[in-house]
């Protein structure tokens, strides 16, 4: 009897462990999306010191672009992602030239950067509304089978693939930032733009290339949203989650954005599991407030006072 009970308890424990493991994977997958958005967002903040809300617009345009090329050329997931990332890079470069190049040259007030980025975000969203109407679109099912069954517990294949891609993208970004000349230039620019100019670095080129990297990240995030969710013009609202993640991680800090995104995703799933979806925004907000009271510079950031 005792042995039977022991077996039963261990089975129950095992089931509970698998359930929470499943939840953790969901949280990590959600956090990976937030982290990718936050990384693109924070990359621009680190060099130009403003919150780039056009990032959401670029994300939406890229998600729709991926949908169109996939439908037209029947591309596989990898090819679709590569082409869209390249498109996102070019689009972000154009957005930078139209929206920020002139402001940067004139050393304009940071508020003008904010206005310009918000306007461009709305413009991009409305281009999508005009072109595609505000109806919904969905990517085809890329991954079969859609899940893996382990002792009755299922793990989403798309979640695991996205986690893998996120890891590769983040490692690639870290390599770029810490092991290449461009990365050194970006990090130097994030510290002191004037000195970087005096050192003979072409700041305009570095800014443009940073926007291109950010655009490619927006494209990856847009595709992730399309695969897991559905395409609609208001998808750019997710950029606010990216912003919260980057604040939690430490505004302008690249590795902080990664930690912030993962933390936010896992916390949301935990709060949802414990208190229900209705209270998730409340608990996330309360947590963020307490966290920033205790550690205003975020997980990995430096103390910064600025207008967001």
């Amino acid at each position: 009897m005792a042995r039977l009970l022991e077996t039963w308890i261990s089975q129950e424990r095992m089931e509970r462990f698998m359930y929470y493991f499943q939840m953790l994977l969901n949280g990590l997958s959600l956090g990976a999306i937030y982290a990718i958005i936050a990384l693109g967002f924070t990359l621009i903040y680190s060099i130009l010191k403003f919150s780039n809300f056009s990032h959401g617009g670029i994300m939406v345009v890229c998600a729709y672009f991926a949908y169109v090329i996939q439908r037209r050329y029947n591309l596989n997931f990898g090819m679709m992602m590569l082409i869209t990332a390249a498109f996102g890079a070019v689009l972000a470069c154009i957005v930078q030239y139209i929206g920020f190049e002139n402001l940067r040259a004139k050393r304009s007030n940071i508020m003008l950067f904010f206005v310009s980025s918000s306007t461009l975000g709305i413009l991009l969203q409305n281009i999508i509304v005009i072109t595609f109407s505000s109806t919904y679109y969905a990517y085809p099912a890329f991954f079969t089978p859609p899940f893996i069954d382990v002792n009755g517990f299922t793990f989403s294949v798309s979640d695991m693939i996205m986690l893998g891609i996120s890891a590769v993208v983040i490692l690639g970004l870290m390599f770029l930032l810490y092991r290449t000349r461009l990365g050194i230039a970006i990090r130097a620019l994030s510290m002191d733009g004037d000195t970087v100019k005096l050192m003979g670095i072409n700041v305009s080129v570095v800014v443009a290339l940073t926007f291109m990297v950010s655009g490619a990240l927006a494209a990856v995030a847009g595709i992730f949203c399309g695969v897991n969710y559905i395409l609609y013009p208001q998808l750019n609202q997710l950029v606010f989650k990216g912003m919260i993640a980057s604040i939690l991680g430490g505004l302008g800090n690249i590795s902080g954005a990664l930690y912030g995104g993962i933390m936010l995703g896992v916390l949301e799933v935990c709060f949802n599991n414990a208190f229900g979806a209705g209270l998730v925004p409340v608990f996330s907000f309360v947590f963020s407030m307490i966290f920033l009271l205790v550690r205003p510079q975020g997980i990995a950031g430096k103390y910064v006072l600025d207008k967001v």
Partner: protein, 408 residues
Amino acid sequence: MKMTNKKRKRWRLGVAAALMMVSICGCAAGNSGNDQGTGTQAAGDSGDYIVIGSVNDLSGNRSVNGNAINNGVKLAVEEINAAGGILGKQIKLITYDNKNDSQESINGYTRLADLDKASAVITSDASSICLSLVEISNQKKIPLMGMPSDPRAVMNPDTQEVYPYMFLVDQPNAPQQANIMAKYIEANTDLRKAAVFYDQSNAYTVTNSQAFIEIWEDIGEVVIVETCNSNDQDYKTQLNKIKNSGAEFIYCPNMPSQLVMMVQQAVQSGLDIPYMGAMDMADPFLSLLNDPESLSLAYFQMVCWMQDEKIQPFFKAYQEAYGEDPIVKSVNGYDAMYILKAAIEKAGSDDPEAIKNALENEISGLDLLVSDDYSQDPKTHSPLELGMVMCKIENGKLSNMGYFLPED
């Protein structure tokens, strides 16, 4: 040729102005769809016409439904005008976009009442929008016809008195829909353990789900109730809980985008139990699924079956007019305009008060797309004894299970 600084400045200013115009136009197009923000005159501008207003979501997150309702109304207006109008007068249809926003709806309705002098207004299927219009309709006294499934949009829940100018037309309200679905499941399946998953920020889904829970507790067992918010995108946590609850089916009267994300994420989570949806599971829901065959079994209800022979002339006319297939909401808009036509004819004038009285007391036996014998109940300002067509989706294939109206 080199540009001078002045010219360069002007050129930049020009580009900035053009960009701003494009941005504003984008917003405007998003706000008002076609050129209807300033009013579309479906009739000749003779001055002797009846003004009808349409306040619908043409660019917000319910614009699929809003555009469908508005297009249905427009098509009916064109037909009525082509046949000589109502009481010898042509109809002038003026449309405002509410972007699924309560304040925009109030603005549109106020403008229709004060400036455009509309005789009646056809509005949204969103309960939250109709609820926000209750107060202003009491002030402006212009009858408002909508498809709000929340009965509180037409009737005060405390006093059980109807709001005099609010009318639900062309479909049963949310508790009636929940009752139809619950009784249908009871009569046609062995499923008794229900999971209820609804959007708690949407008045319709809340009212519908609460009514279902109340009814189902007498029939079977509600094993789990999960909620989400309208802006949520990730439902895997709730779906995993449902999976572990032992539920035999999910009752989910949610919006199409939520249903699509829910089904796709359920497939990814290995959850494969039947879905019992509401009207939003109709087109374009199925076409939005990335793999329709992954949806093993679902039941939902519609006000009509779009492949029905009776619907076909409307279907073809809609396709010719808008280059796309109509959805059920297009039928609602079309029928609503014909109900209004009947009310104006019974009233014998375009006076809003007379139209309101006719809508309340004299709508009976109408031959519409949703029913051959359509009547409005004066006590509830809602359709009287209107059943629904039950539909089934099995492995991505849609079929008609017939008309269903429970006895109680």
